[in-house]
Assembly symmetry: C2
Homo-oligomer: 410 residues x 2
């Protein structure tokens, strides 16, 4: 890429977790940026991260980092619940910002932040990496070629067993399967079928703290198309997406990091296939897109502009409203009180549970209904993330669904 004589952008990372490390690895492969600063509430962790990945500066707070005028691009990799305040601070300090998905907890928050970005003329983007992968172009080109005829349906599934990872289970941190896993599928559907949605319907099962654990989402489009999305934070899926057309289908392996594309004809014969070309971590594309936009003095990227960020969050708001999944950050005083009471009761029942003899616990777990999912089933830790203690075995699993809302979400 021609850099037109400009220097590299000084990149800063907020947070020191798994995704922060992934981004630090990525930066070394992107000629447009260099590792510059990192911040964490723990200064020790910030120093360790800086040393490990060759960052010049380590800060103990976001404010200190933002006061450093040499910072050219801030990447935020903290829990969902922190995004709103942190992005806001970046914009107020005039620092270009790339924030991990979801950009924030809901659409009104995103609308406020992006209006501020416009007002202050500061670059802001969401790190929804699949939007930036070059293979997305291959998928759309194959679709446009007409090889599968008229596309009529899309199915996609994404599931990981992260059902005991703390941030997934904690409403305070914006937990639940939708915002962490389902959001990829909504973005994929949006890339392929657009946003002219006439109806959304979602159905789910819940964690002990009433977050969405597994969900089935159906999008119907004005064109008559259907997208059907399966999301799970407790079960491992094949990560496949299929675009069904009148003459055949396009099969995409790994909807979370496109790996290959296969075209089947109406007799299910393979008639074309493409493999993704080599990539580094895959996050290099989003970083390059940000660097390009900042160089060009744009405040958004083409791959996922501000309107699209808001549009996807309107969908997640719509779905959460049907599923009755809300975060404490969205509650009024009365609701908050009820939430804290419910949470305290849950913790008490869990502690009582933990104190009971193991044999009794097993029996109770059995009585709760085949011992599936979050009802006390023992799952392994993944990626060394913090685990919550096993949920109270006696907690009943619920399920719910909602009707159509009258307005379109986008």
């Amino acid at each position: 890429m021609i850099m037109l004589g400009f220097g590299k952008l000084n990149m800063a990372v907020v947070g020191t977790g798994y995704m922060a490390g992934k981004m630090a690895e990525t930066i070394r492969y992107v000629s447009e940026v260099r590792p510059y600063a990192v911040c964490s509430r723990s200064t020790d962790r910030a120093y360790e991260f800086a040393r490990k990945y060759g960052f010049k500066k380590a800060y103990g707070s976001l404010q200190e980092l933002l006061e450093d005028r040499k910072v050219d691009l801030v990447y935020i990799a903290t829990p969902h619940s922190e995004h709103y305040e942190q992005v806001k601070m970046c914009i107020e300090y005039g620092r270009p910002v790339l924030c991990e998905k979801p950009f924030c907890l809901n659409a009104p928050m995103a609308e406020e932040l992006l209006a501020l970005a416009h007002e202050k003329n500061v670059f802001a983007a969401e790190a929804m990496w699949i939007r930036f992968l070059p293979f997305a172009g291959q998928i759309l080109e194959t679709l446009r070629s007409g090889i599968i005829g008229e596309p009529v349906m899309l199915t996609a599934g994404l599931g990981y067993n992260v059902g005991r990872v703390r941030r997934m289970l904690d409403p305070d941190l914006g937990g639940g399967a939708l915002l962490d896993i389902g959001i990829y599928l909504l973005n994929f559907a949006s890339m392929v079928f657009g946003d002219d949605i006439s109806r959304i319907n979602a159905h789910c099962t819940y964690t002990a703290l009433q977050l969405d654990e597994q969900e089935s989402i159906t999008l119907r489009y004005s064109s008559g198309r259907i997208a059907q999305l399966a999301v799970s934070m407790v079960g491992v899926s094949d990560r496949r997406a299929v675009i069904s057309g009148t003459k055949g289908c396009i099969v995409i392996e790994n909807v979370n990091n496109f790996e290959s594309l296969t075209v089947l004809d109406s007799d299910h014969n393979k008639i074309a296939s493409y493999k993704r070309p080599g990539q580094r971590t895959g996050y290099e594309y989003e970083v390059r897109a940000c660097a390009r936009a900042i160089r060009d003095k744009r405040i958004e990227v083409e791959e996922m502009d501000h309107e699209q960020i808001i549009s996807i969050l309107h969908m997640t708001d719509h779905i959460r409203s049907q599923l009755k999944v809300r975060f404490p950050q969205e509650m009024n005083e009365q609701e908050l009180e009820a939430y804290h009471k419910f949470r305290a009761e849950h913790t008490a029942s869990r502690n009582k549970e933990t104190a009971a003899p193991a044999a009794d616990r097993a029996e109770e777990a059995g009585a709760a209904g085949e011992g599936t999912a979050s009802a006390g089933a023992d799952r392994p830790a993944e990626n060394g993330e913090t685990l919550l203690p096993a949920a109270a075995a006696g907690t009943e699993k619920g399920s719910a669904s909602g009707g159509d809302l009258p307005e379109e979400p986008a």
Copy 2:
């Protein structure tokens, strides 16, 4: 198989279409039965079929066929709408009967027929062939082995472009995607997750005559599991089913005729795989199961007993009720009148459409919304089946969904 000295069963086929031919091909591979008689409303077609497949007798009506006391097993391969009357006649004549799926249009009809089978002590079965395939045992065994941990979710998609085949489009013939295609997925889910369903939700798009064209079905089980099913009569799917567990997933290729099974671990590495052993047409297993049951003087098969036939039809009734898809056979006089009026208007608008200049038609089709699916898109004939003329281009595509019904379907 030890035949214990009994002779072969004389098998009769009702209908001379695609499935009748498949069954005639199958009979030659099954030592327990022999081709004996065929009937069709067209005596010519019956004779031709008998000659082609080596059947001894050709009849011009079901009654004549049933009056032949040498008939040991009747296989029905006529449109869905005929099943109820034809199965009833078989039972009344005391002739064992294997009827193509769906066994009949709805659960009350099946309950009546199967009660009659009990009363008259006559064998009756539904030809839901995937229930009889030996590979189903391999799937259940793999699941029970615990290799994917606790199963939590199931997804399956089945779609073919048969959207201009007459019987699919005609309410009088019990058309629509659910009873012809979706029923396989309901049976698959039932085999894998059982029938302890707490909620069913379905959403669909419609054909010009208000039949379900594509649908998204979500089943939630009392255990907290979810099954998500995607059905289409206009789009080609990958026919894949995935059972997601806490430690990995089982991927099944071709949920309509199991071809292979692959187990992926939580890192998506392939850790086991099985291919289906060789088979003839695949229908030999259902025929053998019927022959065994008849020899043993049973009136149902273990693979799909009468309770299961009714249970699946309760599910399709429940789904159709949400989707507001009903057949004329289920309507009262007033509803029938409205239906015939609607149908006549549709035919008139279609004829007017056909008379309009081609260029205008194309423009109207475009105006109807991206020209997808049944809205005038030209699709090829499949399997030489009768095609309806293209649906009226101006007909708006609708979509709908229903809430949860209070009772469980099974």
